[in-house]
Every structure is written in structure tokens, then in C-alpha cells.
């Protein structure tokens, strides 16, 4: 087994990335909260858009990374791919839960309910359960090599389900209500949204690297414990 560790150069880049992510997030929040005018129909509540949509985007990005890393792991059997997948899955679960919570907060004042069986909400909830299962497999498997192999399989099979779930849930509900669609927005709104999507994406890469470094340390600890 190759000994994975993090080089000092990567640590330097990591620090710079963190700084850029912080600056972008702060400016994104300032623009979204104070500079952009409130929505004509929804008022101040509409500002939730600038965190809800980026969080959802980040969740899907994170799970896509889990899928790619799982495939790479099964082909090359390099433990580093497994550690990146695990890190990305944790971030993905966190942001999926955040997406649902933010959406729920937004749904109450605009739709009048905390929860509705809208295709996107339902798919996101199922996505959350699938990847909670992924993390559960990881925590219930003791041997690192087996854990990597099994969770890679769960990461691939689970991701393949996402489009089918979305399609089936859309058909199931489409006769009742059309899925909520992004309305045509004013350019100022679009740019603010884009800025926040960028900020969340930078935060994702920062968190991923941070979690990966923890995973490397955990792995070294495990190996040392195994050696006695």
C-alpha cells in the first residue's frame, strides 16, 4: 500500500484557496444581503435564493465528485481516491441537508407549507438518504481496503439512481403541479447568484482539501494501530 501524505506545497495552496474563498463568500453575502434590491413579489424572503441555490449546486457537485472518485478507485485501487470520495460525501450530505432546511424556510412564507412533494425537493431528500447510507457503510466497515471497495460500489450504484429517481418523482407529481421553475430574473439577481455560486464552489474545494488532510491523518493513525 502506498503511503499517502500531504506535501507542504499543497498546504500553501490550501491556505491561499481558503483566503480567496473567504473573500468571495463575504462579498457574495454583502451583495446578496444589502446591495441587490429585494424581489418585487416576495420581498426580503427572496434573498434566500442566494444561499439555497448555491447549496443545492454544491450538493450535486459533491456527489458527482464521489461518483468519479469511486470509479477511479475501482480502476486504480489508490487509497487517495477513496479518501477524496469520503471527504466529498460528507460535505455533500451537509449541504444537501442545508439545501432542504433553507428550502423549507423559504417554502413556509411563499408556498405556505414547510414541505411539499415537489419533484426537486423529493429527489433531494432521497439523495440525502442514499448518501447517509454511503457514510453508514463507511462507519460500519472495519478493514480500510474493504471499506474503500464497498463504499466505492455504493457511490456508483447510488449515483446511477439519481436520474431515475428524478424522472419517476416528476411523473408521480407532474399531474398535480408543475415543478417549480427558475423564473426569468433581472441581470442584477443573476450576477449576485453567480457570485454566490462561485463562493460556495470555492468553499467546497477548501473544505474538501481540509477534510482530505484529516482523512490522510486518520489513515496514518489506522495503519500505525494496525502495525501495533
Amino acid at each position: 500500500m502506498s503511503e499517502p501524505s500531504v506535501s507542504p506545497r499543497l498546504r500553501g495552496w490550501h491556505r491561499i484557496l481558503g483566503l480567496v474563498a473567504l473573500v468571495t463568500t463575504v462579498s457574495g453575502s454583502v451583495v446578496a444581503l444589502f446591495l441587490v434590491p429585494p424581489d418585487a413579489l416576495q420581498g426580503q424572503v427572496e434573498r434566500l435564493l442566494y444561499v439555497h441555490v448555491p447549496a443545492a449546486w454544491l450538493a450535486f457537485l459533491a456527489f458527482f465528485v464521489v461518483f468519479v472518485m469511486s470509479v477511479l478507485y475501482l480502476i486504480q485501487r489508490d487509497p487517495r481516491w477513496d479518501m477524496v470520495a469520503a471527504s466529498s460525501a460528507e460535505i455533500g450530505v451537509l449541504f444537501t441537508a442545508l439545501t432542504l432546511a433553507l428550502g423549507s424556510l423559504w417554502g413556509k412564507p411563499t408556498w405556505g407549507v414547510w414541505w411539499t412533494w415537489d419533484p426537486r425537493i423529493t429527489t433531494t431528500a432521497i439523495l440525502l438518504v442514499i448518501y447517509v447510507g454511503y457514510l453508514a457503510v463507511r462507519s460500519f466497515a472495519e478493514d480500510p481496503e474493504r471499506r474503500a471497495r464497498w463504499s466505492a460500489v455504493v457511490g456508483i450504484v447510488g449515483f446511477a439512481d439519481v436520474p431515475i429517481v428524478y424522472l419517476s418523482v416528476t411523473w408521480w407529481r407532474s399531474l398535480h403541479q408543475p415543478p417549480s421553475s427558475p423564473m426569468s430574473m433581472a441581470p442584477a439577481f443573476v450576477w449576485t447568484l453567480m457570485l454566490n455560486v462561485l463562493a460556495f464552489t470555492l468553499v467546497y474545494w477548501y473544505l474538501l482539501l481540509r477534510r482530505y488532510r484529516v482523512a490522510v491523518a486518520e489513515r496514518e493513525l489506522e495503519d500505525r494501530a494496525a502495525e501495533g
Binding site: 447510507g133 453508514a136 471497495r149 450504484v157 429517481v165 419517476s168
Partner: protein, 225 residues
């Protein structure tokens, strides 16, 4: 050809064990019927309501019973290193998956052959005149269910807390299967029900084909030493 002989050997071994021990099948079929019975109590004697949600109740019953059956997929191999011995034989490990898959499919289809008439009586489901299409949908749904279940029951074999892990992993993936089977069945037996049957049937077929390919392809990875 050789692969099919192996698959048949695995399947026949399991059928012989089941027939000779008469262990679990009877209890499982009884459990399934009992679930439907309990639903009638939980929901009350409103026949209009029961008839409307019958397809959903039926598939919840099938899902619970199916999870019981699937958790026992590799039961006969668990003791005394049976699975290791099975893997030592030369040839494709995929034959193990296929044999177990067909076995699970058979068990579930027999359970369903009992459950559908029971549901028809208890919930006043109008099965007469739709027997073949309803059976076809049941086969499509059960195939997808069995593929996922047979696959994940091999994965959870060596996990801690696997009794919880199998449903936790399998149920979210089965959402399209359950939605498809319930919606198509409901649309068939209830003319006033919304939606067509064709789309759901295509969805079930797509699910079955996709997961049959993905699971058969990745199965050897699960059993590597």
C-alpha cells in the same frame, strides 16, 4: 454455457435446501399476508378508501417481506466458510450473483402469487380481467427489487449492524420501483385513476436493465478477498 451451468448449480442447491428444510418460506408467506391484515385494522373498514390505496398497501407488504427474504440470501453460505469455499471453485463469481438473483426472484414471485389474491379479497381490488398485465408489472417490479436486494445483501454480509444497513441502503434506491409498480397497478385496476401505464412500464424496464448491468458488472468487486 459454463456460466449458466454454474448459475443453475447454485440455484438448484438453494432450492433443495429450502425444499428439504421447509424452513422459512411458509413463515414468510404467512408474515406477508399478516401485514395486509394489519393494514386493514390500521386503516379501518372503509372499503372505498382501501380499494383506492390497495396497490400501495400491497407493495408496502411486498417490500417488507422482500427485505426479510433478501436479508437471508447468503444465509446457507455463512456458516463454516461456505462462501469462501464457493469462491474457491474456478470460474465466474458472477454465476453466484445470477443464481442467487433467480432464487430470490422465485421466492418473491411465489409470495406475490399468494399476496395478490389476499389483497383482492381484503381490499376489494378488482383484479379480474387484468390478471396478466398486473402480473407482468409485478414481475418487472420484483426483478428490479431482487437485483438491488441480492447485490446489497452481499455487500452488507460483513458489515456491522447489517440488519439495519440492508434496508437503509436498499429502500432509497427502490423509490422508482415502488412508484412505478404502484402507479402502473393502480392505473390498470382503477379506470378512474390518473396517468397511463406505458410510461411506468418503460421506467421499470429501464431500471431493471440498468441495474442488472451495473450490479452484474460490479458484483465480483464485492466478494474480493
Amino acid at each position: 454455457m459454463e456460466m449458466w451451468l454454474r448459475t443453475w448449480a447454485i440455484l438448484w442447491k438453494d432450492i433443495l435446501i429450502e425444499v428439504r428444510t421447509k424452513g422459512t418460506f411458509n413463515a414468510m408467506a404467512f408474515f406477508a399476508a399478516l401485514i395486509l391484515f394489519i393494514f386493514s385494522f390500521a386503516i379501518g373498514p372503509d372499503f372505498e378508501l382501501l380499494r383506492r390505496i390497495a396497490a400501495g398497501l400491497l407493495w408496502v407488504g411486498i417490500t417488507f417481506t422482500g427485505l426479510l427474504a433478501l436479508a437471508r440470501t447468503y444465509h446457507s453460505e455463512e456458516l463454516a466458510g461456505g462462501l469462501e469455499a464457493l469462491l474457491l471453485y474456478p470460474g465466474e463469481p458472477r454465476a453466484i450473483f445470477l443464481g442467487k438473483l433467480i432464487g430470490n426472484l422465485m421466492v418473491l414471485l411465489v409470495v406475490e402469487a399468494i399476496l395478490y389474491p389476499v389483497a383482492a379479497v381484503l381490499f376489494h381490488m378488482q383484479l379480474a380481467g387484468h390478471v396478466l398485465p398486473v402480473a407482468g408489472i409485478a414481475v418487472l417490479g420484483t426483478f428490479g427489487f431482487s437485483v438491488i436486494g441480492t447485490f446489497y445483501s452481499a455487500l452488507t454480509l460483513h458489515l456491522r449492524a447489517r440488519e439495519v444497513m440492508l434496508p437503509l441502503l436498499v429502500l432509497p434506491l427502490l423509490v422508482p420501483v415502488i412508484l412505478g409498480a404502484v402507479s402502473a397497478t393502480a392505473a390498470l385496476i382503477d379506470p378512474s385513476a390518473r396517468g397511463g401505464v406505458g410510461g411506468w412500464v418503460r421506467l421499470l424496464i429501464a431500471f431493471d436493465v440498468l441495474y442488472f448491468v451495473v450490479c452484474t458488472w460490479t458484483f465480483p468487486v464485492l466478494l474480493e478477498r
